[in-house]
Structures are given as C-alpha cells and as structure tokens.
C-alpha cells in the first residue's frame, strides 16, 4: 500500500517539478479563467442581484473551459518527449499512472482556483470565503482531474486534440458543473450545508464513479 502511494506521489511530484520550471499548465488555466471573468465583468451589469444570479455560472464555466486548456498539456508534453513510454515500460500498473497524473492535475486545478476564486470574489463583489466553498472547489477539482486526465490520454494521439478534448470533456462533466454552480449559488445567497448537501452528494458520487471507471479503462487507451 505504501509502495503504491509512493509511486502515485512520484508521478505527481515529477509533474509538479516540471510545472514549477515551465509554468505551462497553471498559467494557462489561471490566465484563461481570469480573462473570462474580466470579460464578464465588463460585459454584464454587475449589480448585487445580477452578480449573485450569474456569478456562480460564470465562475465555473471559466474554470471548466480554462481547465481544458491546461489538461491538454497533461499528456501532450509526455508524448512530445516520448516520456510516456518510459512510464509505460515501468513495472507499475496503468491505473497508478492514471492516479499519479490525476493527482498532478488536481494540484494544478486547485492552484488555479486559489488565484481565480479570490479574483472572482473581488470582481463580482460576492462573499465566497467559507468552508463550504473549499468543499465545492475540492470535489469539483477532483472530478475535473479524474475525467480530464482520462480524456486527455484518449485524445493525445489525435491530431486535432485541442478540439477533441473539450468536445469529450465538457458534456461528461456537465453534472459536476451543475452541482458546482448550484452549490455556489446557495453559498453566495447565504445558504447552509443542508441546502447544498444534495448537490455536493451528486458531485461526490460523480467523482467516485469516474475515478473507478477511468482507472479501469485507462490501461486500454495508452498502447499502440
């Protein structure tokens, strides 16, 4: 068990080291999300009423679209340097590669959220700094990275992967996005844990389902 965790961490840590040096993924996700937020700030009349109504949708749409931009890099860089093959010839099961890459992507998305959400709070003048928001961000980031890592691996050998990944990813994460938007709506309107519980449960169920399914089918999509 410890060995398994160490292997997953070694893969995620390697991605973190490379990201700290290259800043490809986090800059892409953060930059894209901030741009979307900024455009909506100028495009829509952000009265308190409007901000509470449309803010949660704008926030999660921005993070979802930005996430796709970053996830595209998750396997593309491994393919460009042929390093994915070094992982594939290692004596580890493919699901550990999946979990390691997913953990790396989770950390990138979380880092981007740490920058994007305070900016959102300032631009939309909404109070979001509550423990409930931490929970919403965590379950959403887990789901995004679980599904995104799988589809990034599936689309990596496709020539038009930049187009294919959003086409595969966004429809599948729609239930998760709905849960995140609805939970955040309750939150900005002063809702309680109880009110958003059903949406959070949906998000958690989505995460568990897709982590299990993705880990099971991952080994079939990486080989020639």
């Amino acid at each position: 068990m410890t060995d398994t965790i160490l292997v997953i961490w070694a893969i995620a840590r390697k991605d973190l080291v490379l990201e700290i040096r290259n800043k490809d993924v986090v800059v892409a996700i953060t930059g894209f999300a901030l741009l979307v937020l900024a455009i909506f700030t100028f495009a829509v009349d952000l009265s308190q009423m409007n901000a509470k109504l449309i803010g949660p949708g704008v926030l999660w749409a921005a993070i979802a679209f930005a996430g796709v931009t970053g996830l595209n890099r998750a396997f593309a860089s491994e393919i460009e340097s042929s390093t994915l093959e070094a992982l594939l010839i290692a004596p580890i099961s493919r699901d550990l590669i999946y979990l390691g890459k997913s953990l790396g992507n989770f950390l990138f998305i979380t880092t981007a959220q740490i920058i994007v959400i305070p900016t959102f709070a300032v631009l939309f003048n909404l109070i979001v700094f509550r423990w409930e928001m931490v929970a919403i961000c965590m379950v959403t980031a887990i789901g995004f990275s679980a599904v995104g890592t799988l589809f990034a691996a599936m689309s990596v050998r496709i020539r038009a992967r930049e187009v294919m990944l959003p086409l595969l990813f966004l429809p599948v994460v729609t239930p998760l996005l709905m849960a995140a938007v609805e939970s955040t709506s309750y939150l900005v309107n002063g809702g309680t844990w109880g009110e958003m519980a059903s949406w959070l449960q949906l998000a958690i169920a989505f995460d568990v389902l897709f982590i299990v399914i993705s880990a099971l089918i991952f080994q079939n999509i990486l080989e020639d």
């Binding site: 160490l6 070694a10 893969i11 340097s81 390093t83 290692a90 004596p91 580890i92 080989e223």
Partner: protein, 240 residues
C-alpha cells in the same frame, strides 16, 4: 557463445498492423536466455516494432508472446519488472537533471539505496560528472547514455536496445560493449537492433534478419554463419 536451453522470448505467429500497413507478419521466434541477440534488417523491416512489442509498448493484433515463460497479456507488470529498454527516443524529461530523471525512474521501480545506485549506474555508462546537468543541455550521445543508465539501473534480466551505438563516440561504444559483456557473463539476455552489422556480429550470440515484417534468417552461431547472415542482410536491401 552462450548456449542454454531456456527461452527468454518466445513469439508464435505474432502479427502487428498499423492500419492497412503490416509491421509484423506472423513472426515465429525463440530468443534463448543469456547472451546477445541482434535484430538486423533494412529500414521498415520491423526491428523497432518487434522491440516495442517485447517492451510491451505496442500491443500485438494476434499471436502469442511469452517472456521468461510469462504470458505477455496476463503478466505485464511482472515482465516489465525484469525488462529494461533504451529505445530510439531517449524518453527523458528535458527540464529535469540527469539525477532527477534517474531518481524518478528509481522511485517508480521502487529501488532501494537510490543515491548510491544512481551514482554507480552513472559511473558504468560514464555520466557521473553530468548528474546535475539538465537533460535538455546534453548532446544526443549523452542523452542516449542517460537512457541506457535508466534501462540498466534495476539490473533487468532482459535488456532491449534500439540502435544503442547511434550518437556514441568510440570510447562510449567500448563502455556499451563492456555493459553488454557484463550482461552476458551474468546469463542475462540482451536484444538489440543495429545498423552497424560488423559491430553487431562481433558481440552477438544470435542473429535474426527481418524483411517486411518476416523473419528470413535466424542464426544461433553468427560467427560460423557470418557469410549467410551478410548475404541475407544484403538481400533485404540493407546497406553493408
């Protein structure tokens, strides 16, 4: 020359197609345990595809393949634990140092005494002075050495090398020969492709000549059968 009865790799009717293009057409092959087997053939003969199949990077369309008696489709992780591969691309992270690359491999291979092991392996291939250099800053030849170090770090019983001499200077080729000789002396198996047939035949215990995805000659005595191998090699259009 090493002679054993044990089979390291057994391929039966192995077929691999890339779309409409056949890369391997019903390959039947037995590679004995211990010693060096060289795969010869012109470009596109199927040498690299065969090595990738042995490395479990390419899935076969049909046929059976066993490595050290283990079925490839069922015993993946166990086979890979005893296999090392340095293929055409160095498979290294350019923005990490040589040490970091080897440390990462040692971590996912769950090897003990990582620091000592990395230094000892680097010394074997002659890169102990370059451990802190970023891989991106190294020449192609040095990257090949790092790739070789990664492949042999866990002392696998099967070592797969795709044109290991390419990009290496004379001294480095000698180091490579010493590593291969060390493998032979420990009754481990080396399977390698090469375009330098003279060098290949000097170090080989077995030779396989491929053409259009078929085995056209298998020799267990390349010294005696040297002229037959050379003729087969020339007949497939490869440049001597």
């Amino acid at each position: 020359m090493t002679q054993t009865n044990t089979i390291a790799i057994k391929a039966e009717a192995v077929v691999k197609n890339y779309g409409a293009k056949a890369a391997l057409r019903s390959i039947d092959l037995e590679i004995p345990t211990g010693g060096v087997t060289i795969l010869l053939g012109s470009n596109g003969a199927g040498k690299s595809t065969l090595l990738r199949v042995f490395a479990m990077l390419t899935r076969i369309d049909s046929g059976n393949l066993t490595i050290h008696g283990l079925e490839m489709m069922k015993e993946g992780p166990s086979i890979r634990a005893n296999t090392g591969a340095a293929l055409h691309a160095p498979m290294l992270y350019g923005d990490m140092s040589v040490r970091e690359n080897l440390m990462f491999s040692a971590s996912i291979l769950r090897l003990p005494r990582k620091d000592t092991l990395i230094y000892e392996t680097a010394e074997k291939v002659g890169i102990q002075d370059r451990l802190e250099d970023r891989v991106r800053s190294l020449s192609h030849g040095l990257q090949k050495k790092v790739s070789l170090a990664r492949a042999i770090m866990h002392e696998p019983s099967l070592l797969l090398l795709d044109e290991p001499e390419s990009g290496l200077d004379g001294r480095s080729v000698n180091q490579l020969d010493q590593i291969i000789a060390g493998y032979r002396s420990h009754n481990r198996t080396v399977v390698m492709t090469t375009h330098i047939i003279e060098h290949g035949l000097e170090i080989a215990d077995h030779a396989v000549v491929l053409q259009h995805g078929n085995v056209i000659l298998m020799s267990n005595d390349p010294i005696t059968e040297r002229s037959a191998i050379m003729n087969a090699y020339a007949s497939v259009g490869a440049k001597l």
